[in-house]
């Protein structure tokens, strides 16, 4: 009899713990931010952190009535370090992981966040596997995917009536996958491939490759390079007037940050954009004003996407009114952000990828208070042209 009473008591306590446990002992909402704050992507990570800070300050650093505590960790532009830091953060009981920049790091971190069932917000990494083959219940991408970027590039090439494209592609998995998919898309648009070169990341001289491209008969040059290689290739391309010989375009190939590094040679370069500070939405105007007041500069696309993703996530957590991570995840998977910085964003339940518009811009000389090189939005692609319906 005594054992039976003890059993009932234990079961009651267990049930009560299950019900109220998530709400107990929560003195703060902990976010683990894993970003490259040094190394080749240091500038990107720092910009993301700045955008995230605005998202937190906008809500007085509180969610669910508790203060938000962000633990920033520097991944040092290394997947290995990103995994180590994420493991440490998860062991500290963070409620959300935010990051990374590199798709490889994000994919590795996703395995950890899935194991620990911790929500993971991705606002930059574009690899299709993040919301495709390797997708998890807990990882959400609020920014562009490779497929989305490819769709924009293909459409841009068609609208510009480009007949032949030469590809200079960073020799890594995402680069090769992206180029393969893009070639297939260009073929459906009757755009020929004049030639292709795969070059190691960190290549310090692009002049031979640019010379080959300019002699290939192509009227379009797809530069699919990353990090400092974007600056190297465009600087060296500007010296030989490559953009006067062919239309130069690519994914994340140009923005105000890169324009500052490349200089006047940036003018006329065409690129996909994840976000742009000139977007007219009320939320964006508010964000840009707050960002400028704090940092005295316009937000980059990395900052804009970080702000948008994190503020959307925290607003969703707030709506659940409780501390159950599973409920947060369910709510986010079904959420629509009607007033994101880029208009409406809708989270697709089938793959945890945010459906959204796509931006394409051309670098122009900035006037007035604008940066010396400023992106002018030349094309806005609707979500319906960029995303295939969930199957």
């Amino acid at each position: 009899m005594r054992m039976r009473v003890s059993g009932i008591a234990a079961a009651t306590v267990a049930t009560l713990m299950a019900c109220v446990g998530p709400a107990m002992a929560q003195d703060s909402f902990k976010i683990g931010g894993v970003l490259p704050l040094s190394g080749a992507f240091g500038i990107v990570g720092e910009n993301m952190r700045r955008g995230a800070v605005i998202a937190l300050e906008e809500r007085d650093n509180k969610v669910l009535g508790k203060p938000i505590q962000v633990i920033w960790e520097d991944s040092e532009t290394s997947t290995q370090v990103a995994v180590q830091k994420t493991t440490r953060l998860l062991s500290q009981g963070v409620h959300t992981i935010f990051g990374e920049v590199s798709s490889g790091s994000t994919l590795a971190m996703m395995k950890l966040t899935e194991q620990r069932k911790v929500p993971h917000i991705v606002t930059l990494s574009a690899d299709d596997r993040i919301t495709g083959a390797d997708k998890t219940r807990y990882a959400f991408r609020t920014s562009n995917s490779v497929a989305m970027e490819n769709a924009m590039i293909g459409e841009f090439a068609r609208r510009q009536k480009i007949a032949k494209v030469y590809g200079i592609v960073a020799d890594y998995q995402v680069g090769r996958d992206m180029w393969t998919a893009l070639k297939a898309d260009l073929a459906t648009k009757n755009i020929a491939i004049a030639g292709e070169d795969f070059t190691p990341i960190g290549t310090k001289d692009y002049s031979i490759l640019l010379d080959k491209a300019s002699k290939s008969g192509a009227d379009g040059l797809m530069l699919l390079v990353v990090g400092g290689d974007v600056v190297t290739s465009l600087k060296q391309g500007a010296d030989v007037g490559i953009k006067d010989k062919m239309k130069v375009f690519g994914t994340m190939l140009m923005d105000e940050t890169l324009g500052q590094a490349v200089g006047p040679g940036s003018i006329g370069i065409n690129s996909t954009l994840r976000y742009h500070f000139t977007e007219r939405s009320p939320r964006n105007q508010k964000f840009v004003a707050a960002y400028r007041a704090k940092y005295n500069e316009y937000p980059s696309q990395y900052a804009g996407e970080a702000y948008d993703g994190l503020s959307w996530w925290l607003d969703t957590v707030e709506t659940t009114g409780g501390w159950d991570k599973e409920k947060w995840v369910d709510a986010f998977a079904n959420s629509t952000r009607f007033d994101s910085v880029e208009g409406v964003k809708k989270m697709r339940r089938c793959d945890n990828q945010a459906s959204q518009i796509g931006l394409f811009g051309t670098a122009v000389a900035g006037t007035g208070e604008l940066p010396p090189v400023t992106m002018k939005i030349t094309e806005t692609f609707g979500a319906e042209t960029l995303f295939k319906p969930c199957s």
Binding site: F198, T199, T203, D205, D211, G228, T232, D239, G241, A261
Partner: protein, 285 residues
């Protein structure tokens, strides 16, 4: 032929970057891991000088001079106490210098990319052998050749060069002959650091100026120096030409194999002549 010219420009840039490294090793016996960081600092100083004076040419003077002054201080404060010790101490000290220099640059200039433009007369390109070659590249070739000539002349044909060589081959004997060996060492390190400043300035208009630029270049410098023979200027010239041409023709025919081709050249040299192609034993301190 245009590939040859571009290859020559790559080679000269590599030489400018590796010259200081090999000079410091040849004369002092110090493997300066911080050479890449000094080169990065040189690029940032060049950017700052360009922003201040509004021209590339003052940057080409100011940056190497500042680096030479920094080199003097570094040698006096960190390396001189370590000469009697084994190489490991010097490696650790120069590695520590990397961290210090990177942190200084991060605090002063932040993480943003910086931009350096070539001087007005060296922008744009000229048509040569069916290709457009950037005028700045032709300048790099000429400037690199001038630095090679100056180094050879200075070390091989002047009294100062004789003193430098004497102090590096046998410092004790040199000291008994009245040569201030400590001063010579300081000057050599300052010259090596100044060359890093020249490398950073010359590379500025071609490459992104960013915090990690030194890390990515130091490997290339070591490849050039190892191929040529540690501490040998003639070897550094040959190593730079070999790697520069390998890269240029590699990009023409098989760009995805370019890194492998570079390491194959390095391995082949190490197998055939482990001490480097132009190693001069008597130069090693």
């Amino acid at each position: 032929m245009s590939t040859l010219i571009i290859g020559l420009s790559i080679s000269m840039l590599l030489f400018l970057l590796a010259a200081g490294l090999t000079l410091i090793f040849g004369m002092l016996g110090v493997i300066n891991f911080a050479h890449g960081a000094l080169y990065m600092l040189g690029a940032y100083l060049a950017f700052q000088a360009h922003a201040t004076f509004g021209s590339f040419w003052p940057a080409l003077i100011v940056s190497p001079l500042c680096l030479a002054a920094a080199g003097l201080a570094i040698e006096r404060l960190t390396l001189r106490p370590l000469y009697p010790r084994t190489h490991e101490f010097q490696l650790l000290a120069t590695f520590g210098l990397i961290l210090v220099i990177e942190e200084v640059v991060r605090v002063v200039w932040g993480l943003d990319y910086r931009h350096l433009t070539p001087p007005p007369g060296l922008t744009g390109s000229v048509a040569l052998f069916g290709s457009d070659i950037a005028r700045y590249r032709l300048f790099v070739i000429g400037f690199g050749a001038a630095v090679i000539a100056a180094l050879f002349f200075g070390i091989e044909r002047t009294k100062l060069g004789l003193v430098l060589r004497a102090a590096s081959v046998n410092p004790t004997m040199a000291a008994t002959l009245g040569i201030d060996v400590n001063l010579v060492r300081s000057l050599v390190f300052a010259l090596g650091a100044g060359l890093a400043g020249i490398g950073g300035t010359i590379a500025g208009p071609l490459l992104p100026i960013q915090l990690s630029m030194g890390f990515t270049i130091i490997l290339d410098c070591f490849i050039v120096v190892v191929i040529g023979g540690l501490g040998n200027i003639k070897g550094a010239v040959f190593g730079a030409l070999l790697i520069g041409m390998t890269r240029a023709f590699g990009q023409l025919y098989a760009p995805e194999w370019i890194d492998i081709a570079t390491y194959v050249v390095l391995l082949a040299v190490l197998l055939v002549r482990p001490q480097g192609l132009f190693a001069a034993k008597e130069r090693l301190a």
